[in-house]
């Protein structure tokens, strides 16, 4: 319900700028991650969401859903980009505990700033830095398993580069992200913990190949910190297919392996993402 209201509100707010120009090339806006920032599925990239170029505004609305053995994750997200320089994002996550019962929720406010370069042009990668401020609104369970705080802020530095004429004369994209975080399971299990109550540095990466201008296949990897004694956190990966039929629409489907979450093993399943760009 909350999510529907959010989408409705954002639609209303954005209607005056619905005629924003799409000054960048197809697919360079990427997708919307589960944390709201522009990127792949689980890794934020240096690219900024939407197709706004210098002097232009752009925005996206997205809905992501992951369905693994014992859990479901629903994410509604919105982003705004000005000048292809700064991106603001908001995401509302709802994590449903299918077998245990109950839900975990958090809101994520993001900002990303492009420091240098362009993902397509020039030899150097595009480099951006970003912050994701997260507020867990269901802290009772995280608190009970040893988390220290109900809110926290991730900081990341991302480098993304596309090669128009890469191996097999296909366009390739690679991204490396380094993140400082106190978040347990992204923040759904709170921030900091009885094992470690300090920032951890984690690495994340994505590699994709465009079969043609509209279709990309790729893999993602995301290292996770370990702040709680009650259960080890495990790294995530996924294999994805992205479809960019037009600049308005982007769709991704992934097979994701989240391994053991909160002690429940073999959390693999499907992930779907749908994005509309303004």
């Amino acid at each position: 319900m909350k999510i529907r209201i959010l989408i409705g509100a954002v639609c209303l707010c954005m209607s005056p700028i619905a005629a924003a120009d799409f000054g960048r090339l197809l697919a360079t806006g990427g997708l919307t991650t589960i944390e709201g920032a522009g990127g792949g599925g689980i890794v934020p990239w240096a690219t900024l969401s939407s197709y706004a170029e210098q002097g232009q505004w752009g925005g996206t609305l997205a809905y992501n859903h992951a369905n693994v053995r014992d859990y479901q994750l629903d994410v509604a997200a919105a982003t705004l980009n000005y000048d292809n320089r700064v991106e603001f994002s908001y995401a509302q996550q709802r994590f449903t505990l299918e077998s245990l019962g109950g839900e975990l929720e958090q809101a994520i406010y993001g900002v990303k700033y492009r420091l240098y370069g362009d993902v397509v042009y020039g030899k150097a990668p595009q480099i951006s830095m970003g912050a994701l401020h997260k507020k867990n609104t269901t802290f009772a369970l995280p608190n009970a398993v040893g988390a220290t705080d109900d809110s926290g802020t991730d900081f990341y530095l991302a480098a993304t580069k596309a090669w128009l004429d890469g191996p097999w004369h296909r366009t390739w994209l690679a991204n490396l992200t380094v993140r400082a975080t106190k978040a347990n399971e992204m923040g759904l299990l709170g921030f900091g913990g009885d094992k470690k109550d300090d920032y951890s540095l984690v690495a994340e990466a994505s590699v994709g190949m465009f079969i043609n201008r509209h279709w990309i296949v790729g893999v993602e990897y995301r290292q996770k910190p370990n702040h709680l004694n009650f259960a080890d956190e495990q790294d995530w990966h996924d294999v994805f297919v992205g479809w960019f039929p037009t600049k308005r629409i982007a769709v991704a489907l992934a097979y994701t392996n989240l391994k053991t979450i909160a002690g429940a093993p073999e959390q693999s399943g499907v992930y779907g993402s749908m994005q509309v760009t303004f």
Partner: protein, 150 residues
């Protein structure tokens, strides 16, 4: 540990890309092959494709204002010659350098991308294979800095 090996594999893939890119760059300075020129359909194929490209630009309100005073016939001939030469064909582009041509035009980043899109549409219209499109686009994308905001 398995997680770490996945990460190492990704890093390895990245390294392979970088080295591929270095190799591709040195290719362009080595003995020129006419392969790309041939794949684009040679002299006639390039001229026809460039005609579609020019017509696409003429209908594109985002960029057409840059061409209102242009001699379209001359532009068509020169860009065809230039593409012919860049793709390894037996032509010599006799026009001015890219920075000179675009001096004072103040072409924005968005307008450059619009031109790229017109080129891609022209290549699609002429059924140019994705691999061939990418080879040409990579050569032209290297001119980005010589063209924009001059």
């Amino acid at each position: 540990m398995r997680d770490l090996s996945v990460f190492r594999a990704l890093l390895l893939i990245l390294t392979v890309f970088m080295s591929h890119q270095v190799a591709a760059n040195s290719d362009t300075t080595a003995a020129r092959s006419t392969a790309l020129y041939d794949e684009l359909g040679g002299h006639d194929g390039i001229r026809q494709m460039m005609e579609t490209f020019v017509l696409n630009i003429a209908e594109d309100e985002r960029v057409v204002h840059h061409f209102v005073n242009a001699d379209i016939e001359r532009f068509h001939t020169q860009i065809s010659e230039h593409i012919c030469e860049l793709s390894g064909g037996p032509c010599t582009y006799k026009g001015a350098s890219m920075p000179e041509v675009h001096k004072g035009m103040n072409i924005s980043r968005a307008e450059f991308n619009a031109i790229v899109e017109n080129l891609i549409t022209a290549m699609e219209t002429h059924d140019v294979a994705v691999s061939t499109q990418n080879r040409l686009l990579a050569i032209l994308a290297a001119m980005h800095n010589d063209v924009i905001q001059r």
